[in-house]
């Protein structure tokens, strides 16, 4: 390895924020367990992350001490629960630099968040008096990419079917980058919504969105970014991104399952018709008809996942305490290490960017013609947990001509020793299937 000397006065290598990985690992009880007689090597954080004690404690404490329904009770417990729930909303808003707390809608997950936007379009399209930005019909276009998770494909396919709009998509290059060469032809005045993944869950690619945002603004469309794989791993600032909506999910960022987030510009959320009807989302109800609450309540019908939201707030505190810049840098180093290490495995082919630039710590690969199920099974016998299959991104698998991939993904608690264990495990796979 060559060492590059950075000129004095420039930011030095040691200036990057760091944290003590061993200390962080001690916060995660699950990392102490064994799997199949081996120390757990968890390389599946893009699937779901583990939860630190600080989050688990808050979850238990909420049920043990503050349990009550929110936004409807005058009693003390109800007030405490409501304050905790709304407090979590404020934490999440600050975490992504949302201009207003009311722009944060709690959902079940990213999938539900995307569906809320898609169904708002659908519902608006049925009402002539709805905001024209949300009205879709034949001739209008929805633009996504070939790189999307199924959760950012299927809702739009269904929306296109319901409204007669046309679904179009950005292709993916051989290197696993978004192919923006046809941007002007793809995103035109006919486009009403452009919905793209920020960081790919399968290729690891981090999409540079500035050029696309500029084009989206030019043609007057709306931009949704699926930040499920970026918000947990890097600082995300909605003002800086200049998106109209972003979605992400709690369980991938040290929070519990069952809680996700839709962030939307205030004026857009206010213009969106409701999707789920029920309690908590109304202004007034009579037998003749109802009027609806302002966002975010308008999109949170029924009793929400209260304890999960509160615990997500604790996860945000935890991540903020360590620092998202530091986490991003840690993962960048891991990714560089892993790309080098995996390159030493004979017959291994990486899908997606081969350099640790514009990519996150999610690396998918093929090992010769050994099926990923078999790769994953042998690795599991050694305690190494990776994901195998199509990763809910079948079009990406088709794009690269494989039915499935093996994926290793990292997080703040991942160590280089675990990448070594993966590489050693892949040698074992080769022995079994040679």
């Amino acid at each position: 390895m060559t060492t590059t000397v950075i000129p004095e006065g420039m930011p030095q290598y040691d200036d990057v924020p760091r944290f003590d990985v061993a200390a962080v690992r001690a916060d995660f009880p699950i990392l102490d367990r064994e799997v199949n007689g081996h120390r757990l090597v968890y390389l599946d954080s893009a699937n779901t992350s583990h939860k630190p004690r600080q989050v688990l404690d808050v979850l238990a404490e909420h049920y043990a001490m503050h349990n009550a329904n929110v936004s409807r009770s005058v009693h003390t417990l109800g007030t405490e629960a409501t304050e905790a729930y709304e407090g979590a909303r404020a934490k999440v808003a600050a975490f992504v630099n949302a201009p207003s707390v009311d722009e944060v809608v709690f959902t079940k997950n990213s999938t539900e968040a995307i569906n809320i936007v898609a169904y708002a379009f659908s519902n608006a399209s049925l009402r002539p008096d709805a905001d024209p930005r949300f009205r879709l019909g034949p001739g209008d276009e929805i633009v996504i990419s070939e790189m999307e998770h199924h959760s950012n494909i299927v809702p739009w396919q269904l929306l296109a079917e319901r409204t007669g709009a046309t679904l179009r998509w950005f292709p993916v290059t051989d290197a696993g980058r978004l192919d923006e060469s046809g941007l002007e032809e793809l995103v035109t005045e006919r486009a009403k919504i452009v919905s793209l993944v920020h960081t790919s869950n399968i290729l690891g690619t981090v999409n540079a969105t500035a050029r696309i945002t500029e084009r989206v603004r030019q043609v007057g469309a709306l931009l949704l970014l699926d930040c499920s794989q970026s918000v947990p791993h890097m600082p995300v600032d909605v003002v800086d991104l200049d998106a109209d909506f972003i979605v992400f999910t709690g369980h991938k960022m040290c929070g519990p399952t069952g809680i996700g987030v839709l962030w939307g510009r205030g004026d857009l959320l206010a213009a969106m018709p409701p999707v789920l009807g029920g309690g908590s989302m109304i202004e007034t109800v009579s037998m003749a008809g109802s009027t609806f609450a302002a966002p975010p309540a308008r999109f949170e019908a029924g009793t929400p996942p209260i304890a999960e939201a509160v615990a997500l707030g604790a996860a945000v505190d935890y991540l903020t305490g360590i620092g998202m810049r530091a986490i991003q840098w840690h993962e960048k180093e891991l990714t560089a290490y892993a790309l080098d290490a995996l390159a030493t495995v004979p017959g291994l082919r990486i899908f997606g960017p081969a350099v640790p630039v514009g990519r996150g710590g999610t690396i998918s690969f093929a090992l010769g013609d050994v099926h990923p199920h078999d790769v994953g099974q042998v690795l599991d016998s050694l305690g190494v947990q990776v994901r195998v299959g199509h990763h809910c991104a079948k079009p990406v698998c088709s794009r690269f001509g494989v039915p499935a991939m093996t994926r290793a993904s990292f997080y703040l608690y991942t160590m280089t020793e675990e990448i070594d264990a993966l590489v050693a495990g892949l040698e074992q796979v080769r022995k079994v299937f040679d």
Binding site: H371, H373, D374, Q377, S381, G389, H390, P403, A404, V432
Partner: protein, 158 residues
């Protein structure tokens, strides 16, 4: 070691040297030919199983597909076990295999019935892989039904 129970030598042999692979036309032009294509949506494994039958006997069972070692070896074993068998007999073997795979490792397989299929006993301990092993067998049952040869209704359980 656990892994050896899953990847028995017999399974790896069938995977590396599959028997009867490739879709074939029926030798007898009078034969009833039907096929079924099954996929495992969680992993993308695919298999097409084709049967040629006179209604009583499976003159040929051919297949093609892509997938993991378990699903592909299972197809090879199925071909070997059931080709040339009478329908009644074939479904007895089919039922025994389905029972073995649904048994969570608690079923002791009968080698006289299942032949190389006994090697899949270890797979039954891995719930995530049971579907892989069953994929060709379920496709076979569908193909047989399409060719007008049905299994007895008690056998439908997996």
């Amino acid at each position: 070691m656990q892994l050896d129970q899953l990847y028995q030598e017999i399974i790896l042999d069938h995977y590396k040297h599959p028997h009867g692979r490739g879709l074939r036309d029926a030798e007898d032009p009078q034969a009833r030919v039907a096929e079924a294509h099954h996929v495992n949506p969680t992993c993308g494994d695919e298999i097409t199983v084709r049967v040629a039958t006179d209604g009583d006997r499976f003159a040929d069972i051919s297949y093609d597909g892509m997938g993991c070692s378990i699903s592909q070896a299972s197809a090879s074993v199925l071909h070997e076990l059931l080709t040339g068998r009478g329908a009644g007999e074939a479904f007895v073997v089919h039922q025994a295999f389905v029972e073995l795979m649904s048994g969570r490792g608690q079923v002791t397989p009968d080698e006289d019935v299942l032949g190389d299929g006994v090697a899949f006993a270890g797979v039954a301990r891995y719930p995530a892989r049971v579907k892989c092993a069953l994929l060709p067998w379920m496709a076979f049952k569908d193909a047989a039904a399409r060719a007008g040869v049905g299994a007895s209704p008690t056998e439908v359980k997996a």
